[in-house]
Structures are given as structure tokens and as C-alpha cells.
Chain length 277, copies 4
């Protein structure tokens, strides 16, 4: 028996559950997990079902035929997702992902690490993960991204690109090429401190809480759909550097939780927001 | 159109969702919220559905007929729940419930307050809630509970009895008379500090976190199904009294959240644990 | 023996502690609590000492004479602080303060409640607190504030004015008249969602955390020194209204904690930030 | 200029601060951080001072001479602490410490890793840390501990032994040999779930919060002074295994925070509790 994840986003109407569960029942699958959400404001229905079955049985097509044509339906067999990690200089998020990968905690293959600095190549090599250093040097943003894109295009099976403290802003063009695959960690509880130097600005503002936000990347900087947010309490004794150090704990946890939700196919995106089932 | 809440607990088997949603579809109801949980270890299926409809349409009986005879099925129209509050001397939980009731935040009628002390009668009278003082004096536990039971029996429509810091241990006999209706707040994160004086013992143990637990009451003291738990971080500067004062914030919030879940009929109980949908 | 709180803010230099503790020692006081903070960036020293003594012994003047002339020094006997509560329509923060006052949890007298609506007069009267309704009607902001100021000026001993969900923006002129006394609760984790309708905007942004911030009011809206921040985790099932309801719990707790810190004289303000000792 | 940490625990009496700060002032040091705590119940005074100075100036002896003979006084130059990590099979805590060490986040040397299993030797070797596998085989507890002790005794400068998920109970004899140096992570919010299998028991109890506790080890299992506690909210969908996996995040953070406090010499122990300054 194989395990599958079915995801449906469609407009809400009476009898929907009845129709869908009929197809699943007639295909004789074992439903292991089933969650729905009805967005009553937008008349939308979201459903995620995990089932096991000894054959695919053409379920996806049957559901496509049963539902309205503007529905979004995916049905994937559960297997390891292929990810690329992009980093700049800080090791904590990348290191955390490497450790979780090493201990088989995340259901992923790490195809490669790409960085605009060479700092973290030693850490990558400890875990035998290819590390591609693509220097910025005198390249402008577009020129650099062409090199990055060339590197990414060597892989034809990328599920997610994890920006694990990749500190260069991406162009809308780059983002649109990898839409829905780019997961970022931002070092503030968004929408507070959009942009650069959030810890410095948090210190200047005298906040009593700092946070981290993992989100899908869209062409609007730091405005993509939020997946996870984590916070910690701080006080006046924290310097801007102390905030940055303390923040690493929430950054790496927010990011790995978000990645885990993504690889488990638990996330729907609608109206620039996430529905997590 | 009226609003209804349907709750089903039954043994898990293929086609279950299909059967149930068929009945709902054929009765032409509007499903507003639907949640299920499959307990794969115990092969049990839990479902809570909120729907609106202009008639009841005998849905409950149709579902009873469709499912196995050991299923537990309830279908109630949504309306205010009737609650009794029992207290001893401390005002914060009772006061919080009175305020939420005053501002229509909880969908309840407060039928009466019963106490083994007279301390809080003034506060009750501010909100025009009957307050019945039943002194313990020289009565033993059973004798006192007979008086409390007599008072409770004056009401024939009690949905929940909220022990909002009622500090007397109840006998198994009393508990069994009101099984599933008794919601308690315990001033520790259970199972830590079962029994008396949890803040004193938390102080002696030097914990860095204190908490509160709201749970259904069973005949085993502090061992009933947990509904909500809330915590807060503390440090060495807190005296036992400071812990007690700080703990009030989490006690009142844990209790009102638990009550809200109960009145929304979101809680299933199985194996001395709660499933909250 | 009376209890006193000494607060010192002065420029940091060697021997400071030695000088100050010499004065306290020679006055033969019992130090019960002592906390300092050195801001090494700004070369500033903050100290808060709680001591008991049978006489004041002119300690404040001795310390003033010992320290540089730009120091800020207060020495107050511990007693109930006098507060005014200002509200608009929502009852939860005001109700929580009334309950805490009723149970003697906060060391305060509530002199009066002032509101631009009459909604909450009934609740105030339950607790026998004067409620002054000052309608806005066709008054402009300045005209309305004159009436509020006249009301405030009837009291010559206001320690703090608590804006417990007072939803009118105050003019810089009004703020400057009561500088350092105005404590507000803002319904977001500032600096996120400065301004109006934070819950609506939090919902639109799809945040996974909402919060509340209590802060001193300055002439810049929502930009004053932050005292406390509290958060709670939310998800896609929360409507904007659900966020607002859930947020009440953190609003009232953030506000009462902040007020407690203020009345205990634990807060220093420097560079638009709070140091809490 | 070197940096020093002075720690004093002594019986509280008038003039104490004056005496101590006099010595520091006359030695012309720069005080960078100063914190005290007075335990009024036990009439004890705790103080931690960080200062920089170009010479030690015999300060420790001057303070010893000034204070009562039962005082506990330490004065150490700030430098890297030497630690041993002990583990069994789980990698997350050890891996997290290795990463933090690799990125210079913790001010430590890792002298060696000791384990009763060989599972984690590969991970240790990635970071070039000696890994000593001491099999239990048919050895009894005392025999095995002799081998561990022999290994520990090869180092004459161990500051802390970090039990990073070391799953064997230590004998009182072993513990007494390394008293005050053994820091453990227990996978529950103590005192809940003392002993074995806390996640299984948390699952059986149906808790809504799980936690982790880092504490000094004493001869009473899981009863030593608590340093840090971290929690996370869970629900009915978590299996015992899910709890265990989710718990890793709080385990590794509770442990690394506790170790950080220990190496910064911020922890005092009194009455089986920690005072953290």
C-alpha cells in the first residue's frame, strides 16, 4: 500500500463532501487523515486527505471531473521532497536543517546549497552536501540571479527552495520563475520591521518581544503568505546583538516548522494568506 | 434558519464520511463548519459539524440508523447554555466569568452561584446573579454535598457546573451525579502538583514555569480529562504568594477558554482524554 | 516602619554604587530590594531600591547632593496610587481593572472613569466608581479635550491616566499636559499595525500571531515607550472578529501588568524606551 | 584589560553593598554589570558583578576578609569553559551544541563526547570532537560508571558535564564526584513525569502542553535544581511519537540556554533551587 495526499481547493457548494467522499469510498482507499476548511466569506472549500491504497485508481481525474473547472486539485504519492538551500553567511538555519536531515527528521533530499558567500562551505562539506558559491562581485542583481538560475536549472525536480538566511533581495522575475517554491525566514514578526536590520530597529523601538516569520516569497518583499511565526520575550538588557543571537532560536524553529508543513503538503495559499490543514 | 451542532463518535470504517454527508446533503442543510478526527490506534472516528437549516428534518435519527449501535450521536440547536458557578473565596475566576457574561462574550445564562463561603456574595449581587451560601460548619463532606445537590436540583436544565476555584474535594458519588457537566480549574499544569497548595509546592521545587489546567471532573481527584492548559514564566524573585497572584491570570483564561469550548460543543471525551474539534 | 522606593537615573561613573549605598547605610535603612542597570552605550546608571525605615532622614537630598546635577532622583513612600480610567465602548480592560481593584490586587484608588460614550456607566456604577460621560457630539478634538481636561483638573493628585481602550487619538497638547502619566493599551504587537483597525489588518495580512502592547503615550501616535507586550497564536480559522475577541485576553493582561509595573515604580524611561527594574 | 565575574553568596546584613562596592571602587575596576538578589525569607544576599580591570588586585581575598566566614565567593577571569558531553542515541541536543560551538555562539571548548552507544560517533567526527564509546554490555551500573569516571579523569579541567539526552540513571556516588558540574535535560516540564518515558505518559494523560527542563543533577533523580523550562502547546492529534519529535525543539533550547547561563556564571544554587542573576 502506498500513501497519498489529496488536496482540493474549490468553490463551496452543497453536496461537495458527499461527492468527494463517494469517489474515495468507491476507490476503496483507507483514509488516515481528513481535514477541511470552509472560507464562508469567499465561498471556498479546502480539503486535505491522506489515504493509503494499493493503486492510484485514477482518483485525481475522477475528482477533476466531478468538481467545477476552476478547482485546484493535487494528488501526490508521499515521498521525499527535493530541496535547495540558499544561504548567505549565517549558519544557524542551514545547520539546523542539515542536522534534521542527518537524523531523518525531515522527509527531504537536500540537492544542493547555493550561497553568495563561501563562509558556510566547510559546514556543508561536513554533511556531504554540494555547496555552490556564486560570488556577487561586480555583478548586478539580475546578472547574479542568472548564475543562480543556471545552477538551479541543473536540477529538474526541485520541490522547495529554502532561503535559510539568504540576505539578497530577489527580483520579481526570479521569484516568478520559482513561484510557490520559495520559502523564506524573516527575522521579525512580520509585518513589524519589514526590510533590513530588523533586530537593530527592534532594539531602537524598545520592543519587549522579538520574533521570526517564515513565509512564501512573492514579488513584494516580506509581503508573501505567512506560514509560521515564533516569538520570544526580551527586555531592556538586550543589546541589538543580543537580540540577534537570541533570535536565532526562533528563526530556525519557525523555518523548520514551515518547511515541514510544506513538505507534508499541509499548506493552501489563497488571497496571499495560508490555510494550514 | 436555525443553527445546529452535530457530534458523532463512532468506530472508524470505510465509507463513513460518505454515508453521513449523504444524509446531510439530502436534508439540504448548509454546512458552515466541519471537522473530523480519526484515532487510528483505537479505530475511532469523531466528527463535529455546524450547519444551518430551516428544519431539523429528523437528521439525528437518520444518522443513528445509519451508524453502528455503539455510536454516540448528539444534535443540538445552538442556544445559550445554562451554567452554575461554584466558588469558595477567590474572586478572579468568578469575576472574569461574570464580566464575560455581562458583555455577552460567552453564550450562557448563569443560573446561580453556589459557595461554601459568603465572601463573594457582594460581587455576585453587583451582577444580579443569585448567590447561595451553603456553609460547611460541622457538616461532613456527604452532608454538605446533599445540601449542594438539593440546591442544584432546583434547576432542571443545567448544562455545566463550573468549579471556579471551588476548593472542596467532591465525592465520587456527587461527581457521578453530574458526570460530564463538571468543569474545574486546577492551579497547576497537571499532572504536576496534583492536590493541595500547588503554588507553595511549585515555589519549594523552584520551577521556572507555573500553569493552570481546566479539566472535566471525574472521581479521581485532578485526574479528569484535560481541556486547556496555560502557563507563564516565573523566576527566583517570585514568592509563593507572588506565584499565586501571577497564576490568577492563567487560571481565569484557561477556565474561560475551556468553558467556551464546552458550550460550543467542541469537546469529545475518550479514554480520559479530550478531542477538541 | 514605612516603606520607600528610591529611583535614580544618573550618568555612570566609578564609585557610584559606593557613594549611594554609603548614604543608605548611614541612614540605617533596611534594603529589601535593589536593582541596577548600566546602559554601557549611553553611560547611564539606573537604580531602584525598596527600603523600609522609621524616618525619611532627608535621604533624597543627600543623594541629590552626592550626584551630578543632571541626575533624576525620586524617593516616594509606598502608598496607593490615584488613577483615572478613560474608555470608549469596550468593557474588558476597564472591567478587569475594576475587578482587580475590587479584590485589592492593584495598589490603587480609582478616582473616576471618563468616557466619550455612555455604554459603560452601568458597569462602573456596579463598582461605585464615578463615571463621567463627555460626549463628542459636534465638538472638534480640541474642544472635547478641553472638557476632558476640565474633568481631570478636578483632581489634584492623579498619578496615572489609564487609557483602557479609549479610542480617540489625543492631541500633542493634551499629551504634554499629562506627560509620563498616560498609559495606553494598543491592540497589536507594536510596531506592527500602528493606527486604526489592527485586527482587521492582521486578518488581511494572515498573521499567525496577534498581540497587544501597553505603552506610555507620547505625541507620536502608537510610538511611545513600550512597557509590556503579550501575544497569542492564531490560525486561518479566525475571522477578524474572532481575532478581536481572542485579543481581549492579551489586551487586558498586558495593560494590567503595565499598570502594576508603573504603580510599583519599576519603570524608567530613556530614549523612548523603558528600563524595568 | 581582562574581564572578571565575581559571585557572592552571604548572609544579608546592613552595609553589605557598601562594603563590597568600596573594595571594588578602591581597586579601580570598571563595573559592567551588577545584579543582586536578597532572599528575605532566608536572610541571604546574592550578588554577581562583571567587571574589567588590568589587574586582579587581590579583590577576592579582600572580600573574603570583609564578609562572614560562611560566605561563598568566587572570582574568575572570563574564559572558555571546558565541557564534556554525554549522550545515548538521540542526536538533536548534541548536534545543536556542536553547531553552536562550531559557530562560536557558546564560550566553550568541547573536550570530548562520551556515550554508552556508538550511534553518534559519525556526527561527532564531522565536527572533529573525540567520541568515546563506553559500552554497557554486561556491566552493572557501578562498573560502567568506573569506566566513564576513568575517561573523565583524563581531563583535569572539566567545568561542566552536559547530559545531552544521556539515558542512564547515574548513581549518587557518581553524582557526588561531579557535584555542581552535571547539567541534564529532562524531557518533561518537571515535576510532571519524573522518570522514564515522559512523552508516552504525557500522551496517556492527554496533556495540552509538553515541556523540557534543564537542571543540575543531584542524587535524587529528576529532583535537582531547575535552571530552565520551555514548553509547547500540543493537541489530541499528536501521537506519543509526535510529542517526542515536537519535544526536541524545546529540549535543545532549554539545554543550550541552561548551559549558557552556567558558563556565564549566572547561576547560584540554594535550597535545591536556582537564583539566576
Amino acid at each position: 500500500m502506498n500513501k497519498y495526499i489529496l488536496k482540493i481547493q474549490t468553490k463551496d457548494e452543497k453536496g461537495l463532501m458527499h461527492q468527494i467522499t463517494k469517489i474515495l469510498y468507491e476507490s476503496n482507499v483507507n483514509i488516515e487523515e481528513n481535514n477541511e476548511y470552509v472560507d464562508n466569506d469567499n465561498k471556498l472549500f479546502f480539503m486535505r486527505t491522506v489515504f493509503s491504497s494499493d493503486k492510484d485508481d485514477n482518483i485525481k481525474n475522477k475528482i477533476i471531473n466531478a468538481l467545477s473547472s476552476d478547482s485546484v486539485i493535487t494528488l501526490n504519492e508521499v515521498k521525499k521532497k527535493n530541496i535547495i538551500i540558499m544561504v548567505t553567511k549565517e549558519s544557524h538555519c542551514m545547520g539546523d536543517l542539515l542536522l534534521r536531515h542527518f537524523s531523518d527528521e525531515l522527509n527531504i533530499n537536500i540537492l544542493s546549497i547555493i550561497s553568495n558567500y563561501n563562509n558556510l562551505s566547510e559546514l556543508a562539506s561536513k554533511f556531504n552536501i554540494p555547496y555552490k558559491y556564486i560570488a556577487v562581485d561586480s555583478l548586478n542583481r539580475e546578472e547574479h540571479e542568472i548564475l543562480v538560475t543556471n545552477e538551479l536549472n541543473k536540477f529538474n525536480n526541485i520541490d522547495f527552495i529554502v532561503l535559510a538566511k539568504y540576505m539578497r533581495v530577489l527580483t520579481p522575475n526570479f521569484v516568478s520563475n520559482f513561484e510557490g517554491k520559495l520559502i523564506n525566514i524573516h527575522h521579525s514578526f512580520l509585518p513589524a520591521f519589514i526590510g533590513a536590520n530588523p533586530y537593530k530597529r527592534a532594539h531602537d523601538r524598545g520592543v519587549k518581544i522579538i520574533g521570526a516569520t517564515s513565509h512564501y516569497v512573492t514579488s513584494d518583499l516580506d509581503e508573501g503568505p505567512i506560514i509560521t511565526q515564533e516569538i520570544l520575550h526580551v527586555n531592556h538588557t538586550y543589546s541589538a546583538t543580543d537580540l540577534k543571537v537570541a533570535g536565532r532560536n526562533v528563526e530556525k524553529i519557525a523555518l523548520s516548522k514551515a518547511l515541514d508543513l510544506a513538505i507534508e503538503e499541509k499548506i493552501f495559499i489563497f488571497n496571499n494568506k495560508t490555510i494550514i490543514l
